[in-house]
Symmetry: C2
């Protein structure tokens, strides 16, 4: 099996970092890898904000609900849906950008953000760095907008922590593949047994790594997905993403 | 520079395929790579539908606005935001899932879809396959839901074409990196000159590869982003994604 496949299949998020800086040429190569990633209709509707300032990282750690690895690792890259940049192009092209008022714009730009995030993570791991994807910045979108100085028609979707790993994380098991991969059509019949098997696997895994507060996947999902954790629609609207149709 | 970085920086979408099938073990390794990719709060809120049936691929090519490479290449993988699966977990955990009614759920699941797409594309390219990311399935979301038999609380966000390349595509230039990478804060000052430079670069590129209808980036953006190309909010609502807050 080749190096890239091995790297992807060994994916894990490590949450323990040394403070060693990332050499400029490595950071450049990681960002340039993301810069080559595809975007919807070549819109290039994503921008990265590379945050190294310690006070800013401490603030982001706080915004994200207390995630110390954001302050500990030397680099945080915010990945921003950027329809401000595209609006300048539309204006130069003699028209007015209105696409940001549609759900389509949210979906196309946020999926492009995800593509960038994965590219950043894979590139960083190819250099032996650890990573943590951070959606927790959406706990305080306004705080992130202010911290990063983001203009209208942009939205800070997520970020990635990058640094040299102090203690490597184990690899967390996944739901059985039959709940992830379907052939030709979606098959729901196997889901319940897959979830039962995974709940058992995950609890066994938490015990094995000595984590006493670890929940089954179902209990975890019941905790997270039975409430509205984040009320971000009003801020998206203020930024220009009004989701009218 | 290592193999993975080289692969990422050489990214391109190829739109000319042989009909040769992809060996099962290669397709398995690609899907298993995506299966290991991270998701928000370990929700695993993404599912893949592997489509090899020729009639289905022809239908998807049509839905996507006439993209013949979808019918030509042997495999299309639909990447689906899947909060049906998580709802089963929440229910098993003794609660009711309501998160799908929030913008947060759209953003977290769609960014996870993007992460999966990039992982599929990188894994496929590591095996020497060509890829094309396809957002065009959102031209007829209902058509895709019916074709793939998708349940409530799911949404077909995008897909990836995979196959053996007949004719390799050249690599399309990107906007200058200063319009993509910012340090500490978003800097809008350099955007207009970056766009001017890129408009020139892209038109030169189109001429070089002999494409006579190639537009500048600004003209392209003016064409795509000055109208609502896709009205998908009503279908998202029907699926359960009501975006109430």
């Amino acid at each position: 099996m080749n190096e890239t496949i091995r790297l992807l299949q060994a994916h894990r998020s490590s949450r323990s970092y040394k403070s060693d800086p990332i050499p400029e040429e490595i950071l450049d190569a990681i960002v340039e890898s993301a810069h080559r990633a595809p975007t919807s209709v070549n819109s290039q509707q994503v921008s990265l904000i590379v945050v190294r300032n310690a006070a800013s990282r401490a603030r982001i750690a706080e915004i994200a609900g207390g995630q110390p690895w954001i302050a500990q690792a030397p680099v945080f890259i915010a990945v921003v849906a950027d329809l401000y940049k595209t609006a300048l192009g539309v204006e130069k092209g003699g028209a007015e950008q209105i696409v940001q008022r549609s759900l389509e714009a949210v979906i196309s730009s946020v999926s492009d953000v995800g593509i960038m995030m994965a590219t950043l993570m894979t590139a960083a791991r190819a250099f032996g760095l650890g990573i943590v994807p951070i959606g927790g910045i959406r706990r305080d979108v306004r705080g992130m907008i202010d911290l990063l100085g983001l203009p209208r028609n942009t939205f800070p979707v997520a970020g990635v922590v990058l640094g040299y790993i102090d203690e490597e994380a184990p690899q967390k098991p996944r739901l059985p593949i039959e709940s992830f991969r379907h052939e030709e059509k979606y098959r729901s019949e196997k889901l319940k047994s897959a979830i039962d098997a995974y709940d058992h696997t995950l609890v066994t895994y938490w015990k094995k790594i000595g984590r006493k507060d670890g929940l089954s996947w179902s209990a975890n999902m019941a905790q997270y997905y039975s409430s509205y954790s984040r009320r971000i629609k009003a801020i998206a609207e203020e930024q220009g993403f009004t989701i009218e149709l």
